[in-house]
Amino acid sequence: MTLVERIDQAPLLLQRWAVSFFPALLQPWVAMLISAAAIIGVFASLFALSTLAERKGLGRIQNRPGPNRVGPFGMLQPLADGIKMLIKEDIVPLRADKVLHFLAPIALIVPSLLVYSVLPIGRNLIAMQCQLGVLLFFAIGASTELSIFMAGWGSHNKYSLLGSIRAIAQMISYELPMVLAAVTVILATSSLDTVNIVEAQAGGFWAWHAFTPWGAIALLTFFICALAESNRAPFDLPEAESELIAGHLTEYSGFKYALFFMAEYLGMMAISGMAITLFLGGWQAPLPILNFIPSWMWFFGKLACFVVLFIWIRGTLPRLRADQLMNLAWKFLLPIALLNIGLAGLWVKSSGWIAWPISVILLGLAIVGLGRLLRGSRPRGGKRIYRYAD
């Protein structure tokens, strides 16, 4: 094993070294525990870093310094936030369903961490290789809707309940085009295993699925849905504290609120990780010459790019209205994703450059046509009509 390979496999070697201290009977359990602990440790600290990056980045976009008081350049701000959240009073409404109110953040954080088990973070670095990794990812991701319901119902507050209806409606609407966008990759690689999907994109950036006509559109669809699924701007209606009273989070304070906050960032990073795995070559280097850089560094580098993109979009785009949100999902993204599956099938069957012009023409027509339809659904120019506000 050369030095480059050793560094590449360092986390795995470390795990094996730690496991070797235990008796053979306990070893599989210890290995599992170490994988879980590593995922929790790494991604929780990434959560802290990305909150800092977000506040700094948003500050820069909004022409203000951002947090700069705690530690050098405000680096210790996440730590201070964490301590503040921990020692805050935890307020539970008097008539709340105590059990549901308590369970909701836990039921949200567990699936948010569980989805990382099927993401290949580097070569051979995956907590649980499963034949149905992609399906498992979406299945676990879908169960977060239950916890949003628990939060909304358990709070015994009509604004919480309305907020959770809104959040769940948004999540189930955007889940559909997201899964359909992922189907194209499953069709092309004929595998549901995340490791196989990454290995199918070996060789350089031209082999990545994002550089095929269907892959580019699927990645865009997936990314828009990822924004909505993780409740990020411009789709952050579930938690629009300035207009919509923070939705299902209204009655949460202290560390329970911090858990919701953490689950949002963890979900954002998990979905970005899935987008990287499906479309951007996972841990593969963009050029074969760059293979000496450890595979996990490529994964985390791509992940950092995604996080920056999320922050940039949050600082740039205004929030959508609820009906615009639903129209975008059902009348634009869903038909595009369905058409895209057909084009992926064409690409697989024709296996050549003939699919390029056909795909570009069909997708262009579909995007322009659907875009016009969407625009036609509201009056253009002239006076705005306020239906409910008069």
Binding site: D97, C130, Q131, L132
Partner: protein
């Protein structure tokens, strides 16, 4: 250890299943149903039926439960208190359960002569000695890597492709019907106003 996990998840499934029927609060019932589905999915996965297990979570614990929850949230269903138990339904339910148990006994009795995985193992050993390979599914079963997604896909889209399309058409008719009904309601309301 596997048997311990089996008993744990069987207990989860049955316990929450019981809670679904006995709980007075509809929200408790719905969430217990979701937990029961998760327990059932774990049982499927422990039987190496990964696809069914994961689909169980995706479809039942995900989609179907969300439908239930939407109904609860929109209708504002309150906990039923002091309501008498419906004796007829109780007797009917018990009868149905007994019938199901009888059916399971009969089906498992009918399968008694069939080969089990253990038999396949010995058959594979004999086959290897004779220099012939068993069919792929048996091999995959032996290696514990049965591609159940592919089997399911072939069965659904190849063998039962026509039936699947009929079911799809039925669902489409249902969807169109719902849209029509809700549209007519709004149209009537607007005409009334």
């Amino acid at each position: 250890m596997p048997s311990f996990i089996f008993y744990l998840f069987a207990l989860v499934t049955l316990g929450f299943g019981l809670l679904v029927v006995t709980a007075r609060n509809p929200v408790t019932s719905a969430l217990s149903l979701a937990s029961s589905f998760v327990g059932l999915a774990a049982l499927f996965i422990s039987l190496d039926a990964y696809f069914i297990g994961i689909i169980q979570i995706l479809v039942y614990a995900g989609a179907v439960m969300v439908l239930f929850l939407f109904i609860i949230m929109l209708m504002d269903i309150k906990a039923e208190e002091g309501k008498k138990t419906n004796n007829g339904a109780l007797v009917g339910g018990c009868l149905l359960a007994v019938l199901l148990v009888l059916q399971v006994i009969m089906v498992s009795g009918a399968f008694h002569g069939e080969r089990t995985v253990g038999d396949l193992d010995t058959a594979a050993a004999i086959g290897k000695a004779a220099g012939t390979e068993l069919p792929t599914i048996a091999n995959d079963l032996r290696e514990g890597s049965l591609p159940d997604t592919k089997l399911m896909g072939y069965a659904l889209f190849d063998r039962y492709g026509f039936h699947l399309q009929v079911v799809g058409l039925l669902l489409l008719v249902g969807t169109v019907g719902v849209v029509m009904l809700s549209k007519r309601d709004t149209a009537a309301k607007e005409a009334g106003n």
